[in-house]
Each structure stands twice: as structure tokens, then as C-alpha cells.
Symmetry: C2
Subunit: 342 residues, 2 copies
């Protein structure tokens, strides 16, 4: 059923701590008309990702904050509904940055044509998209796992962690996943093929993690922080590498969550005593050629059945705020996307 | 005046928090006799260094703890008093690891002959020794300062920091030192030639540091932790590098010093948002060839007057415990050594 109006989600107020549904506002607006050199995108699938929590905050970060009243940003798979651009045709399926809305204009910059014969288009938002590339560049450039080393992956059933662990196994490492709850743990072990998995919701989580890592930890891919970091820290080996990709346990913290005890001295002590490398990164920090390499290599792994993924699909753009709030609490199971249109 | 007995300092008890004089015991013992293949070392100068605080603790670290009753370890400049080793002659001046004592035996392993014509022998404990090499390998392998970048050095008047800053200047960086008190600050600015210096004892330290770093901080050489880190953290630039060499502000901490607030989340956040690399290291983590390179290069800098140093000399081995306790509180001014014998 074609829409007569655009539907979009804008930032209504800056979240303090945990975002609330009222921090977002669903609006209707006219469907824009492409000018010469533009295309009209009709969004099929919207990606929801933890980085968006940074973008709705006005704290200093690697990217400017979304202005109040602006459409929420986000990667999308879209169909070109109308084209006044010589390079694009109506019906093309493209990776785009249309954000949280049904229709958007584009001048073609940043669009990538997707071939549904290679993989389902929505994988361009996950395993073959920014999350997969994040896993690839962070693990290989910073983590640098060697065969036989132990790699521990937080948020192991998630969009990034699931790829980190599978690549680490392909590279010959022993891979231990950390996930929340028995369902996700079973998926990590049985579907993704990790060597072991530990449930961070278990009361004896730290002990179970130690048991799962009898040779210590050589690479810890940090996506979580919080109590997961506390359990990992004492297990890190000399010269361990810690790519810091996300800190989802901290994103919603307010000042009251920082009362103490002070965990910094213990972390600094281990960094020195064990000569640990911690390095923060975002996906765009590495040479552009690595993206082409990743697409080629990861597509091959998918064809060979070595790289698997799971999507958590939410129906309807109106559900995006609740789904995003749930993502920050680990309620999603696999790569979270919103089905916006057919 | 020759001694008829050996004098030595042993570890009497494991310090809890700040070491006390009674954690050490001064003993007399017979002067040992060299067997075939051994030399008798007569210590002239003993080096006191912050790493010794790690060695008297039994917490897991990069080296085993000193056993109770054992002689305290330490680098020394010694004269060979008697030799039954074909490679060493009486009267040779050698870098050695005799520890906190007047006389020690050695089988020759690890000894390095020192030529007083090149530099005063005690420099082998400081600017041309382990502290100088620590500065060199940490700054160049991890810090990697580029011309025009801002390098901030904690404990800037100390054995390591003074060398870090001078090398960073030689490499074309703008160098800001942090030191405690006006005397040390004047030395760092006027004698060592840093571009700027900030007194961490000043009540407006954090603001003064920000003013001294108008372009932010690209390399922070961490030797201190504590409130110095808190002032540095918000000034770190994207892709800043933090070689973690020491944490002297934390070494004496007990559990009560960790009440809070929790400073870890803010540090992790900046590591991610600014894509910071923190890496702990000790001097022996790097290829052995870098030590030869350092000795050659640093000797040249000394000849050219580009690399200066200051010694803080304490007289008499009996003073070593108090001097060591003072070192951990920043009471020394320059490389701390103990004159043990003539």
C-alpha cells in the first residue's frame, strides 16, 4: 500500500541516562520530490545500532550530535522509487543513510548498489555492513589474534560480536563468547560455533569465565564494559590486546552510577603489569582498502558457510524508538533492524 | 676506609600501603669470597627506582616478589675488588645488579664495563641506564611523537621523565612537563629546555595544564596516574598515544583509597570516543637491538649537550630505605642514587 505521506522519527529531547520513548517523536510530512541530480529513496530496512546513543548526546564525541527536531540518523536499505540521477535507476536496491524515515532524497553520494543474488540486501546493514566491517578492522588491526590464542568476545550474539568471534575462529584462535541468557548462549555455541560461551547474567559469571579461559585471555574485544570488564581484567595475559569498540553498559549511565568503588587504578595497574594494549577505534579509522578487502573476504566466507548471522527484525518504523531503547539493554537477539517498507 | 664486614639491606616485611622504615632491615654479614669464575663487587652507587615498590609486593606482576629476608634488588655501579674470572680485572668499573649491599659476588653475567671517559659511571643507572632506555623505548615505540605534536610528560624532573621530554624535543615535538613544586618546574623549563611546565601541586593545575596545551595532547607519557591523569584525560586528542610506564601515585594505595568516585567509565569513554591507545610496557619488552641503538644515540646527544640530567645523591646505604620511601612520594629531585662507597 503506497503512502501518501512520509513517516519519520525525529529527536524530541536529549536523553538523560536511559532514553525514553518521549525522547523521540514520530512525524508525518510530505513525500519530498527529487530535483535534478537526485533520487527518491524508499526505505525498506533501517539499521539500529548502539552508536546512535552517542549521536543523541551532546557530549564531545567522534561525530556531531543530532540536532533536536532532526531526523534520527541511520543506515538503510532502500529502493530507488524515482531517479533524476544518471547513475541510478528506479528499482535499484541501495545501501544508503536515509535515517529513521520512510522516504528520503539523495544526490547519490554514499549510495552502494546491492545485488540480492549475492546475499539478502539487509546483510548490508549487518554481517556485510558497518557492524561486520567494525568486527573485521578492530579484530585484525588491534586484536591481531594468533593461532591458538584465546579471544574473548563480549556481546557475542550481537551484530559485531558474532562476526568478531567467527573471524577469530577462522584465524585459528580459541574463541570464548559472552552473552546474556541461555538462548543467546546456545546460539553462540551451536549456531556460531564458538569454542565456549559464558552467560554474564549468571551469578558465578566471573568464575565461569575463568574456567572457560584456562590459558588466560590474549584478545578481549570490548563492546560492553561494566561487570564484564571486571571479570575479564584479571584473566588478561601478558601483552593482551583490547580493541575498545563499544561500552554499552555505560551508555545510559548518569553521575549516580559512578559512585564507586574507583575501578580505574586496578585497570591501570594491569595495563602496566601485564603490558596490555587498549585501543579505542571506530570503523572509519582504517584505510579504505580494508573495506573492499572485507567485502570480498566476508562474501567468500558466507558462500563457504563459515560466517553466519542472525537478524532481529522489528516491524514498522513507529516501533524504532522502543526497539532502540531495548537494544541498549541487550533485549535484541542478533542484528537489530526495522522493517520499514516492503 | 676498608670495611671488614658486608653491609646490606634486606626486606623485613611486606609493606602495606606506604612502606615504613621497619619494612627494611640493615644487616652486617661477612664479606663473601669469590670462587673460581667469580668476581667480588664493591658497590659504589646504588640506583633507587619506583619499580622496586612492585618487587616488595606479592601481588601478581611482571617479576617475582623479593622474598622476606632477601637482599633488596637494584642496579649498581661497582668496582671489581677481586677477580677469579678471566674476563674481569680488579679495578674495572661495572654496571651490575648487586642490590642494596656493599659487597656482592658475580659470575660475570649481566656485567657491563663502564668507561669513565665517556660519562660519569653513575649515568649508567640513569640517563644512560635503565631509566633512559625506558624513556627511549616507551616514547619511540608507543608514543611515536611527530614533529609539531604536543607531548606531555609526567614526573618531568625524574629519571625517566626528564629523558622522555628531551628526546621528544629532539624529535621535533612541543613538550610540556608536569612536576611538583617551583624548584623542579624551574629545572624542567630552564635546564632541560621543555617548552612549558606545569606544577601539579598548584590548586589550578588542571586549568594551567589546559592553557599549556592549546592544541591538546597527542602523547602523554604516564608515570604518575592519580590526579595528573584526571587533568590529562580531557585534553587528549583523537588518536593520542599513552605509554603507561609507571603509576607512582597508586603504588602505596590501599583499599580505602579506592572508595570512589569510579573513574574507569570516563577513561573508557575517552579511549573509545577519541580512539586513544594506552599501552603498558617495561623496558625489556622491546628488541635487544634497541638498547645498543639507545646507548649509541644517547651518548651522542650527551656529547652534543642535547641530553642533560640531574642526580639526587644520598650518602650511605643505611639511608636507602628512607630515600626509597621518599622517592615514592616525589621527594627526590632528579635520578635518585645512593653513594654506597668511594
Amino acid at each position: 500500500m503506497p503512502d501518501s505521506q512520509n513517516l519519520r522519527v525525529v529527536l524530541a529531547s536529549r536523553p538523560v541516562g536511559r532514553p525514553k520513548p518521549t525522547d523521540f517523536r514520530v512525524e508525518r510530512a510530505p513525500i519530498p520530490e527529487p530535483a535534478d541530480g537526485q533520487v527518491l529513496l524508499e526505505v525498506q530496512t533501517l539499521s539500529l545500532d548502539p552508536y546512535m546513543r552517542w549521536r543523541v548526546s551532546d557530549a564531545k564525541s567522534y561525530a556531531p550530535p543530532i540536532a533536536l527536531g532532526d531526523v534520527m540518523v541511520g543506515a538503510t536499505v532502500a529502493r530507488i522509487k524515482a531517479s533524476r540521477h544518471p547513475d541510478w535507476r528506479e528499482g535499484d536496491i541501495v545501501l544508503s543513510e536515509a535515517g529513521w524515515q520512510r522516504y528520503a532524497l539523495s544526490d547519490g553520494s554514499g549510495l552502494r548498489r546491492l545485488d540480492p543474488a549475492i546475499a539478502p540486501p539487509s546483510t548490508a546493514l549487518g554481517v556485510l555492513g558497518m557492524p561486520g566491517l567494525t568486527a573485521y578492522v578492530g579484530l585484525l588491526n588491534i586484536g591481531q589474534p594468533k593461532p591458538g590464542e584465546t579471544v574473548v568476545v563480549a556481546a557475542a550474539s550481537g551484530a559485531v560480536g558474532s562476526v568478531v568471534g567467527q573471524i577469530a575462529r577462522i584465524k585459528g584462535a580459541r574463541v570464548v563468547g559472552i552473552a546474556g541468557g541461555p538462548e543467546k548462549c546456545a546460539f553462540v555455541k551451536n549456531e556460531l560455533g564458538f569454542d565456549a560461551v559464558v552467560d554474564h547474567q549468571a551469578p558465578d559469571f566471573a568464575q565461569k569465565l575463568a574456567e572457560a579461559c584456562p590459558d588466560g585471555i590474549d584478545v578481549y574485544f570490548e563492546n560492553v564494559a561494566g561487570h564484564v570488564w571486571d571479570a575479564v581484567l584479571p584473566l588478561l595475559n601478558d601483552f593482551a590486546r583490547v580493541p575498545v569498540c563499544g561500552l554499552i553498559a555505560n551508555y545510559n549511565d548518569g553521575p549516580a552510577d559512578r559512585n564507586g568503588p574507583d575501578r580505574l587504578p586496578a585497570t591501570m595497574r594491569e595495563i602496566l603489569a601485564r603490558r596490555i594494549t587498549m585501543r579505542g577505534f571506530i570503523v572509519y579509522d582504517f584505510p579504505r582498502e580494508q573495506e573492499d578487502e572485507f567485502l570480498r573476504v566476508a562474501s567468500g566466507w558466507i558462500r563457504e558457510g563459515k560466517l553466519r548471522w542472525r537478524e532481529d527484525v522489528v516491524d514498522g518504523l513507529e516501533q524504532a524508538p522502543d526497539a532502540f531503547i531495548g537494544l541498549l539493554e541487550g533485549k535484541n537477539f542478533g542484528k537489530l533492524v526495522v522493517r520499514v517498507g516492503a
